[in-house]
């Protein structure tokens, strides 16, 4: 049978799987569904492992920046610390506030969690390693990542807590503001590639290192920096972590969540961070392109983790902005800069002054 999933690297595995399943007499459609399910499980586990790793990594980096050790006692340099955290969170009692909005309160973490994973359908992990290559891939990512804000707003509203509500409202305002500069800086890339497909974007940057979009002077670096700022805000990280500002709103939108539901928010936050970093790597740093002696997925992971590291460095260095300054920064600085940059890029593209 023809296998429609574009995971070419994993193709042998799926051919073997479909062969086995067909020998049991399953119909072609069932085989397809089961294959997708297996793929989903693989994806889910990979991402969960990455999220758990990121939590551990962040703790280690923060600790070493502060001349501490971080997790140390559980395994080599505390490597299974976050696994223990996850198991513990699963065991925790699920406290439900009596005055909650039942439906909204329940679904908020689920939506947040699912939305965080959805983006990976079109994420090019490596050469021929993508679940589905839509022709509107980047648009799809922008759409599904914005689901997060709905989840946060729902969490803030459903908890029936003033701090949570303030957190939810802040996050809505923040994401709405930062979506615009983010899209505007991505548009510069799309303008040049002429396609919204993730695979096209990556392949257009193949070859020489100066084909990477970040090196497209003069607008490339500007687009990258503005994207990174907007992405940091999108992922709710310091200096833009006002929805869960510990010192002001105690824990912000997730103040009333415990146990598994909190774990969902927690993991989703780190997966979101990974998503925006992966997007930065794909759009600006050439995605999985690189010398061929290292596998393409390793290039992708390396670049992504590089961006994640940068975001962590930023997080543990800077203070937090205030909510109105955040808006002002977005609307008065970031939006004009990104649009000017977009126009500049368009002019350069039209005039053909680029290589």
């Amino acid at each position: 049978m023809t296998f429609p999933v574009a995971v070419l690297e994993l193709y042998p595995l799926f051919r073997w799987l479909s062969g086995v399943l067909e020998s049991f007499g399953f119909s072609a459609n069932t085989v397809l569904i089961i294959s997708y399910a297996v793929l989903g499980v693989i994806m889910f586990s990979a991402l969960s492992i990455i999220a758990l790793f990121l939590v551990w990594w962040e703790r280690k980096i923060a600790a070493h920046m502060q001349q501490r050790f971080g997790p140390m006692r559980h395994g080599w340099h505390g490597w299974y610390q976050t696994i223990m955290d996850a198991i513990k969170l699963l065991q925790k009692e699920d406290v439900r506030v009596a005055s909650r909005d039942k439906i909204v309160y329940f679904w908020a973490p689920v939506i947040c969690f699912v939305a965080a994973y959805l983006a990976y359908i079109v994420m090019p992990w490596g050469k021929n390693l993508i679940v589905a290559d839509f022709n509107i891939g980047i648009l799809y990512i922008m759409a599904v990542t914005t689901f997060t804000v709905i989840a946060l707003l729902m969490a803030g509203w459903g908890s029936n807590n003033k701090y949570a509500l303030l957190g939810g409202m802040r996050s809505a305002a923040q994401v709405v503001s930062y979506e615009i500069p983010m899209v505007a800086s991505i548009l510069t890339v799309i303008l040049f590639v002429g396609s919204m497909s993730m695979v096209d974007i990556v392949t257009s940057q193949s070859g020489w290192i100066f084909n990477w979009f970040i090196f497209k002077l003069p607008f490339g670096p500007i687009a990258f920096v503005t994207y990174l700022i907007a992405a940091t805000a999108e992922a709710n990280r310091t200096p833009f972590d006002i929805p869960e500002a510990e010192q002001e709103l105690v824990a912000g939108f997730n103040i009333e969540y415990s146990g598994m539901k909190f774990a969902m928010f927690f993991l989703a936050e780190f997966i979101n961070m990974f998503t925006v970093s992966a997007l930065a790597a794909t759009l600006f740093l050439g995605g999985w392109n690189g010398w061929s002696f290292i596998p393409s997925w390793a290039w992708f992971l390396m670049k992504t983790f590089g961006v994640v590291f940068l975001m962590m460095l930023i997080r543990w260095t800077y203070p937090r902005l205030r909510v109105d300054q955040l808006m002002e920064f977005a609307w008065k600085f970031l939006v004009p800069v990104t649009f000017a940059n977009l126009i500049l890029a368009a002019v350069i593209k039209y005039a053909g002054w680029h290589w």
């Binding site: 923060a62 920046m65 502060q66 001349q67 501490r68 003033k162 701090y163 303030l166 802040r170 310091t238 200096p239 972590d241 006002i242 500002a245 510990e246 010192q247 002001e248 709103l249 105690v250 543990w316 260095t317 800077y318 203070p319 937090r320 902005l321 205030r322 909510v323 109105d324 300054q325």
Partner: protein, 367 residues
Amino acid sequence: MSDLRTEEYYLNMGPHHPSTHGVCRMVLKMDGEKVKEIEPHIGYLHRSIEKICENRTYAQCIPILDRFEYVTAMSCNYVFALAAERLASIEVPERAEHIRVIMLELNRIASHLLFYGVTAMDIGALTPFLYGLRERESILDLFEMTCGQRLTYNYIRVGGVSRDLPNGFIPKCHEALNTIEKKLADYEGLLNENPIWLVRTVGIGVLPAKVALDYGVSGPCLRASGVQYDLRRNDPYSIYDRFEFDIPVRHNGDCYDRYLLRLDEIRQSIHIVRQALDALPEGDFKAKVSPNFKPPAGEVYARIENSRGELGVHVISDGTKKPLRVKTRGASYNHIAVLPAFATDVLLADLVAIFATMDVIMPEVDR
């Protein structure tokens, strides 16, 4: 736009809230994110220290007063010893006075380092908090070496200090001071010029000098508002008049000035400690004070400049070995009382910044 209506609501901040530095509770009348009115509620740490001191001898009061303002417990020890010495007209040996000055100033540095860290954390930067505490540890080491405790010292006694400086204190102290002086550059590099820090603190929570005086605000908060008033100069105690140091003054009275002023004070304190270490004479470290110390009847209000402002203690003696009344006055008491007078119409995040830069410590308020 005029038909858009907003509804005011009440937000309860504390007594358990990460940025109230302990157990202060503030009921905020909010309009969206804007704070319209503040009503502080205190007393969640009211431990009746004053009542306890009425039933303790003068020597026993000092460990109790350690817990009154634990971040600068040395100055609590000192102010009570000063009051008792003034009641009984005790002459303190030279060496003891020098040791006291060293300890008071080291404690001021420790307290300001804690302030630096906590303020940075309240404004959202976590790393400076750990840097501040890291250098504070080196001072705590000095204290532990001298008197055996990290926080509640019970070191300065009526008539002197409880023990002489240990061997090797002086080189170690110099080393710690050098490290802190070197690290101040790091602290400043992290925050002073940082645009995010600037927008969060410059022009936020301006405390006018007139309001400050009216509400009895003292110490760095008052000096940041442009009033040059430091008890080390204006009402000299101990041997501060022998040392050369500046009283840093700033004029805007906002969060940024309050923050910068404390960094300046760390430098001045380092300067004072160095002078005191150099001038340290030989001799007794304690005057002869009987264990059954009974000052003559009378009353005295002793006040000193500690890291938060005026720390005072009002002691009334009736001629017995226990004081008739001990009333303590902490600077933070007034610093919280003044909040409703100037910190209105700010955003919630600003209130946190203002609260942090007022450097409030709750047991001093609640006692």
